[in-house]
Each structure stands twice: as C-alpha cells, then as structure tokens.
C-alpha cells in the first residue's frame, strides 16, 4: 500500500512516468498478459514488469479489436450507424443506441415524444441492471469462484434479455432507438412481463448480496486493493461506477437530466475508499436504485405516440452544426460527438467510450500490487473491448 501512496504523492499531472523502484536484486521479469488471456475480457494486452510478484510497470496495449467504427460511420448514413453502435459495448446496446440518438436529436433539434422517453428509461435501467450483475459475476469469476456467481447473474440477465428480444427482436444487438423516438411500441403483455421481472429483481439482488457481500474471501481480496484516489479519478476523466466508488458525486443522470431523469426519485451511491470492494458495492447499490427508477417509470408510462410526427428515417439530413450527446451508460459517460455539414452522413463522428478512459488509470491502480491482483483490478474497471478499441 505504501508504494501506491508514494506514487500518488509524486504525481503532479496524471501523465507521469512510472516511479516504483524495484527493491530486490536482479532483473525485472516482463510478462505479456494477453491478448489471449482469460482475464482480459477479450483481446487486450498488459505488458507487466514484475519484481517477484510485485508489479513495477504496466503498459496497456489497445487496438486488437479495432473495427474502424468512426470512419465507417462517417461514410454511412445517420441511420446506418445505429446498428453499429450496438456493437460498441455489446452488453449494453440500448444505452449505446440512446447516446447516439441523443446526439443526433441534439444536432437536428428533434423532439422526442414522452412515451418514447419513458420506454428509453425503462430499457436503459434494465440494461444497467443486467450489465452490473454480469460485470460483478465476471469480477468474482476472476477471483477464482468459477461460475457460480456469474451463472446467478446470467440467470437474471437472461430474463432481461428475453424482454429485449420480445420487444426489439434481438437479445443483444437491439437496434431499437430512432431519431425522434423508438422503433416499435411496447405492448401490454410486454409491460406485464416487465413488471413481473422487475418485481423479482429485489429478491435477486438480495440473493446476490447474501451470496457475496459478506464473503470473507471476497473482502480479503478486494478491500484495500486497487485504490483510485478521487483527485486522480477526476483528472483522468474517469466516470461511472468507478468514479463514484472513489467518492466523487457525479452522475450524468443527475447532472444533465437528459431525457426525463429529473422526474424520478433515486439516489447516487458513493464509495469511501475507492477500492475494488467499493466498486462492487456501488454496482450492487446502483442496481437497487435502478429498480426504483424502473418501478416509477412503469407506473407513470403515458399513452401516446412513440415517434415524433416530423421524424425522418430515410434521407435524414440535419442542418450544418455540431452536437455532443452524452448519457450515463452503465460503464460511465458515453458520448457521441457529431459534426454535420448538411449532408446525408456526418462529417465527423467521434465516440467517447467510458471503458477506454476508465482503463487509462489501470497502471496507477495496479502498481505495487501482486500479479493476481492485477487481474482483479482490471476486472473491477468493467470494460468491454468492443468499446475500448471500437
């Protein structure tokens, strides 16, 4: 722990050289963890320099899953980019859809009907719950509990994905939101099924917590490990549960009130220490708050159209200008920056992915810890490589 603290004292900006000196004799051992490493959630490499078990340097290597998303979007029509956004963070395709739709709606000055806003909130919060549940499952999986908590999380995720499938047609690649509303309307049976699932969610979170929260092994592995200080988190632009676990009260749902989030009563859970356990706990508590939002949204869902009457699907050409639309995705601030020159495709299209920017502090969190903890710290960041590399 002391090593991490001396490092933090010597950091002035966050763009710093590695500062930990090896204390043993002999050479450092350089290990390439990944790109084919079961803990890397995909294809990601960490070049670690080890002094015994202790991490002295860590260099993340990105780009193995680069698919040219931004350039493809600059050549495609506005609508054609929508299914590609599903493939960014493939765990949360609906929040990706929303962020992109929000940016385009800002660009074109396109209003959204109230019912569509409510449907978006319901789907986004369901996405948040399934993302947090499975990300905790993966974290515990990396701790060595092979399968059980992950399968508990997936059992619940399955119910939510079934809802997505029966509404949007696809479990993961939903491609559901459109500029000015949503693609299809929710039906009464779908709402009943959703109410049933939401009613079962508190019991699931209770079960999940009984399984994990007071587990001594989990506490021993997580508490005091991978501490991220709030100053560093803010300077590095970290967002989402990572930032809130460090105790910074910043949630775009509260800051921006995008959509209709100002109508709902919910609290923002904050961590004290910024360690892995806090990140785990913040996610669990966020699931509980999401259930509250879901209950309110399902209660207040108004009748009405789901697409704005003036919304255009084909031949959509927003006037020249620029817009940045951002939302609180389950992993952090997801933003889309668009510049239009009045043509059928954006002149510039840029994604601000939460996973990539949260990963930039990986070295700061890992230095001085053991190799086994690196896997855990990396898991607690909650990334999806599709979004990191784009």
């Amino acid at each position: 722990m002391s090593v991490v603290e001396t490092k933090a004292e010597r950091v002035t900006g966050w763009n710093r050289p590695p500062v930990i000196e090896p204390d043993g004799e002999g050479e450092l051992l350089e290990v390439a963890m990944g790109p084919h490493h079961p803990s890397t959630h995909g294809v990601f490499r960490m070049d670690v320099a080890l002094d015994g078990e202790r991490v002295i340097r860590l260099k993340p290597v990105f780009g193995y899953l680069h698919r040219n998303h931004e350039k493809i979007a600059e050549g495609a029509s506005y609508l054609a980019s929508m299914p590609y956004t599903d493939r960014l963070d493939y765990f949360c395709s609906l929040t990706n859809n929303w962020a992109y739709a929000l940016a385009v709606e800002k660009l074109a000055g396109q209003p959204v009907p109230e019912r569509a806003e409510y449907i978006r909130v319901i789907l986004a919060e369901l996405t948040r719950i399934q993302n947090h549940a499975s990300s905790i499952g993966f974290l515990i999986q990396e701790m060595g509990a092979s399968g059980t908590p992950l399968m508990y999380a997936f059992k619940e995720r399955e119910k939510i994905l079934d809802l997505f499938e029966s509404l949007t047609g696809s479990r993961m690649m939903c491609n559901y939101m459109r500029f000015g509303g949503c693609r299809v309307d929710v039906s009464a049976p779908w709402l009943d099924a959703t109410r049933k699932v939401v009613a079962g969610l508190p019991a699931f979170v209770d079960e999940f917590e009984a399984l994990l929260s007071s587990n001594e092994i989990l506490m021993a592995r997580c508490q005091g490990v991978g501490i991220l200080r709030p100053e560093l988190a803010v300077n590095a632009g970290v967002s989402g549960p990572m930032l809130r676990a460090s105790g910074v009260n910043y949630d775009i749902r509260k800051v921006d009130h995008y959509g209709i989030y100002d109508r709902f009563q919910f609290r923002i859970p904050l961590g004290d220490h910024g360690d892995i356990y806090d990140r785990y706990m913040v996610r669990v508590l966020e699931m509980r708050e999401s259930i509250r939002i879901l209950e309110q949204a399902l209660r207040d869902l108004p009748a009405g159209p789901i697409m704005d009457a003036k919304a255009k699907i084909r031949g959509f050409r927003p006037k020249p200008g620029e817009a940045y639309g951002r939302i609180e995705a389950p992993k952090g601030e997801l933003g889309f920056y668009l510049i239009s020159d009045g043509g059928p495709n954006p002149y510039r299209y840029r994604v601000r992915p939460p996973s990539l920017i949260n990963l930039t502090v990986l070295e700061d969190m890992c230095l001085g810890h053991n190799v086994a903890d690196v896997v855990l710290i990396f898991g607690s960041v909650d990334i999806v490589l599709g979004e990191v590399d784009r």
């Binding site: 059980t148 029966s166 047609g169 399984l211 587990n215 506490m219 699907i313 084909r314």
Partner: protein, 210 residues
Amino acid sequence: MLGDGILKGMAETARNFFGSYVSKERLTTVEYPEQRIPTAENARVFPFLVYDGTDWEAGMRCVACQICEKECPPKCIYIEKSADKKPDFVGKPQFYPARFDIDISVCMSCQICVEVCPFEAIKMDTQFELATDDRFGGLLEDRQKLAKSNEYYHSIHPTEAAEVDARLAEEKAKVEAKAKAAAEASAAKAAAASSPTPPAAPPAKTEGGS
C-alpha cells in the same frame, strides 16, 4: 465469526440446488437440441422475400427499387433490376428483381432493410440453425432461396403479418376505387360526347399476385 459470510453464501447455493428438484423456477436451463424454447414472436435473424400466392416468381412483392440495397449498413444486398415488367398485387406493372442476393455471412440482422422497404417485400426470418460446410456458396442466398410465402410469414410473425395484410388490402382497395372512379369518369365523358359508337369498356384489370 470468520467464515460466516462463506456459510451464508453456501446456504444460498444449497437452497438453489435442492430447490431445483422442487421448483421449476430454479431450473433455468434446457437441454438444447432435444428441448427447445420457442423463439419470441419479434425475433429476427436474416431477411427473406415475401411472395403472394403459390408461384414465388410471379407473386414476389419486391419491385427492385433498390432502397434496401442503398440503406443496408454492411452492404450485403445485391440487386439487378429486370428489363421487363410484371404486374404487382394491384395490377400495376412493376420491375422485379432479376437477381437478388443476400450474403448472410455479411448481414448483421439489423432489420433496416425491413424498415425502409415501402412494398412490404422483405421481412425477417426466425430460422437460426443455418450452419453449413460451404463457406461461400452456402452463405450466399439467391432470390429463390430467399423467397418465402406469405403463409410462412404469417406462421412466424402472426401479429405483424396481419397488420401488413390489412395495410396492403387497404392500399389495393384505394387503387381499385381510384381506377373505378377513373373508368366511370371516362365512360361518362364518352357518353357526354354521345358518339354513335358505344362507350369503350373500362380496361380489363389484371389480377396480379394473389
């Protein structure tokens, strides 16, 4: 006491393990190839072309307008317009696709072709067991392979297909009413001219498609 939390967690797993013998709710998986969960009604996999009636070539709704080809994000559709025309479901002569290929190894099942199609000609299938050992030809579907009947469409998406049929019937009724009004007007005109020859009979309507 140290170990309390672990015991609590184990009690939870034990409850699920023994509960799975009693309660169906706790048994969440099925043995896939033998047991199958029915797909959701809205499920989508790959596109197919709808035809009316029994002859897939004559009843094909597609008029080769190539909108889907243009809008398809991964550009997996290839269409060649026909040189001649055939009557569509209201009897209006329309082009038809001389070639319509979808490379389903490229298709990403996004449904945008279905959304932009103004003729209700392309719809999403729910058939997902499409594994083949032919990597190129086996995954390139031509128009004959893509053509599926309206009855098949009704069997996989009943609600949506009923809506589509109602919309098409309405359109057809509108066109027929318009044609009838036009024919009556021309007949009245001819009668007003009071030519010695009897008024020309309205042009015989060809009943295309169904």
